[in-house]
């Protein structure tokens, strides 16, 4: 069973003292899985971990039962198009894909046949004989995709694969992902924007600050975000009175007197109703010095993920 999963067990990765990802537990089934999170959230780190380019500081990883420490086995089933934009110097697109295939032990003719096929799949045949150094950003993106799929891996890992693609190619690329997923393969991709990937993903993993925030089928993740309660701190003179008034008036989940004596801590799922209630209480003559969102970061993150990343 675990042979069909990508498993992360309590994986942490630090770069010196910079956090990459923290205590990640994941069970990724086959199909299209999107990693979504803002810059620096740890998407690339997760992908590098599962392909063995970096090693976990603690925890363990298996990809369809194979350890990333055994590239000679793992790479036979895994293709990874990284976000690194560099290409070996002086190589044509075709030569680049062929060289990769030679390392798989294919003979020259077979490698060339497969390379041509992969390049055709990403619609780059017209530029195959040109140097990669002279490719545009989108073309480089596609040649890396071609290299990743050339040996038809069961696990396809793609770091921001839709970045810089024009709409036509983008649609073709997504069709390719679907096709792969339909054959029972893993397609793992990353994006900054949930909207960009939610229509075609089977699962999404939301990640922020190196931690998995939500994970699962896209519909469930959306619901969870909407229902996620927000926490506020209400500065006021008479916390006990305000607390009881809030309970009567607004749809709050939880009200607590702040142990630090600053006021009242409130959890609510309905921010608008809560805001209106606070206003009414203030108008009634209760002295309220301020309202502070307590989990601003997480909140902003959700706004960001749902709101299209602006």
């Amino acid at each position: 069973m675990s042979d069909e999963l990508i498993l992360f067990h309590n994986v942490s990765k630090f770069y010196g003292d910079v956090l990459g990802v923290n205590k990640v537990d994941l069970r990724i089934p086959s199909g299209i899985t999107s990693l979504v999170g803002p810059n620096g959230s740890g998407k690339t780190t997760l992908m590098n971990l599962m392909s063995g380019l970096v090693h976990p500081g603690s925890g363990s990883i298996t990809v369809r039962g194979i350890s990333p420490f055994a590239p000679e086995k793992l790479m036979r089933i895994l293709g990874y198009a990284t976000q690194y934009d560099a290409a070996p110097r002086g190589v044509t697109g075709f030569g680049f894909v062929v060289a990769g295939l030679l390392l798989y032990g294919y003979r020259q003719a077979e490698a060339e046949r497969r390379a041509a096929l992969a390049i055709e799949t990403v619609s780059l045949t017209h530029a195959a004989q040109r140097k990669i150094a002279a490719y545009s950003k989108g073309m480089r993106q596609r040649i890396r995709l071609a290299q990743a799929i050339a040996h038809e891996p069961a696990v396809l890992v793609l770091d921001e694969p839709l970045n810089g693609l024009d709409p036509l190619v983008r649609a073709e690329t997504i069709a390719l992902f679907r096709n792969y997923a339909a054959q029972g393969r893993h397609v793992i991709l990353s994006s900054h924007v949930l909207q960009e990937v939610d229509v075609f993903s089977d699962q999404v993993i939301l990640i922020a600050n190196g931690m998995i925030v939500a994970e699962g089928e896209i519909r469930n993740v959306r619901d969870e975000i909407h229902e996620h309660p927000s926490q506020f701190l209400l500065h006021c003179q008479h916390p006990a009175r305000v607390a009881s008034m809030l309970f009567d008036q607004a749809d709050v989940t939880e009200v607590k007197i702040d142990p630090g004596g600053r006021g009242v801590l409130v959890m609510t799922r309905q921010r608008e109703a809560f805001a209106a209630a606070v206003q009414r209480i203030a108008l009634n003559g209760e002295e309220i010095d301020g309202v502070m969102p307590m989990d601003e970061n997480v909140d902003a993150l959700y706004e960001y993920l749902i709101g299209g990343g602006k």
């Binding site: 590098n48 380019l53 055994a70 790479m75 560099a86």
Partner: protein
């Protein structure tokens, strides 16, 4: 095994033609250029003296200290060069006469008309040139050219790809890291062995090219082939040994200057070290298989002399095994390092 070769083939072009490695060729060709230049100047001198009158060597050798300049002139005839001058203050008249006996130039130096000193110099002497070559080979070629050339080629095998941000392509291929290491090492080794083996062949060829045919024939029938072969072998073994060290250094350290300096220092102080530690030096083994001991100018200051003096040589077989053993050890360390190596382009 097959994979090692595939990797080496893919890497070879980069190892030979990388822009970073251009100066490696200059290092390798430098001795050949020097000896070709020297050969040309010897040829020109020979042509210059070809038409000059000669005096029999026996007659010139007979001139004893104290002989008067007039007697020398009477016996040997008109000299090729006749210079006289007064040494101010000490009231000494000096005179130098030069003769040529067909292969040597002979200078008679007189003070106040009496012969004080005789200097002889061959137009070219294969014995002397062989010594110069031995010195060049050990002091420059092995210590500096092969050393820094290997540095340039091998340290870039991994570090260069880190800088170019292309190392992950290798790491994403279905190849054990150890195999990748060996493949890259082979590519570097082939390139450096061809470049520095070739440099040794060319310079040794240049050394032979301008010798007189009699000298050449004698040397050829005696040791030439043997010497040339050992020079080439020791240059190539230098690539084997230094190559592994710098390959490992490129994996373990960020800054290539540091391992280079440490290694250079280590090789230099090797002569002071206890015998056991000497066995950990590449140069020690290389010097052991150099066929001709290098000359040592008596004017070299004693400290430098200690640095330059070759260590007590071991036999050729032991030396070759020594280099290979050291290499295997270093490659083992490198293979441990390459397994742990992570793609980390950001902080380079």
């Amino acid at each position: 095994m097959n994979q090692i070769w595939i990797i080496a083939k893919l890497e070879l072009r980069r190892a030979f033609f990388s822009k970073r490695a251009l100066w490696v060729y200059l290092l390798a060709l430098f001795p050949a250029v020097i000896f070709v230049g020297h050969g040309i100047s010897v040829k020109m001198q020979r042509d210059e003296f070809a038409g000059k009158p000669t005096v029999s060597a026996a007659l010139l050798d007979r001139m004893a200290v104290g002989t008067a300049d007039a007697d020398v002139l009477a016996a040997a005839g008109k000299p090729l060069q006749d210079r006289s001058w007064d040494q101010r203050g000490r009231n000494i008249k000096r005179r130098t006469l030069m003769y040529f006996d067909g292969s040597r130039r002979v200078w008679f130096e007189f003070e106040n008309g009496a012969l004080r000193n005789t200097r002889r110099r061959e137009l070219s002497s294969i014995d002397e040139d062989r010594k110069v070559y031995a010195g060049m080979f050990q002091y420059f070629y092995l210590r500096l050219a092969v050393f820094f050339g290997s540095l340039g080629i091998f340290i870039n095998l991994f570090r260069g790809e880190m800088i170019d941000k292309s190392l992950h392509f290798w790491f994403l291929s279905p190849v054990r890291r150890e195999v990748l290491l060996l493949g890259k090492y082979c590519a570097g080794l082939i390139a450096s062995a061809v470049i520095f083996g070739g440099g040794a062949v060319l310079s040794f060829g240049a050394l032979l090219a301008y010798q007189t045919s009699a000298d050449l024939q004698a040397y050829w029938q005696a040791d030439a082939l043997y010497h040339g072969t050992w020079y080439v072998i020791s240059a190539m073994l230098g690539c084997v040994g230094y190559g592994s060290v710098f390959l490992a250094a490129g994996l373990l350290l960020r800054n290539p200057i540091i391992p280079a300096l440490v290694m250079l220092l280590w090789e230099s102080i090797n002569g002071f070290l206890p015998e056991l530690l000497q066995k950990l030096s590449v140069l020690h083994y290389l010097q052991s298989i150099c066929p001709v001991p290098p000359p040592m100018d008596p004017n070299v200051p004693p400290l430098l002399r200690l640095v330059l003096a070759p260590t007590e040589p071991t036999s050729a077989g032991v030396a070759i095994l020594g280099v290979l053993g050291l290499t295997a050890l270093v490659l083992y360390v490198a293979s441990r390092a390459v397994r742990r190596l992570e793609i980390n382009y950001g902080t380079e």
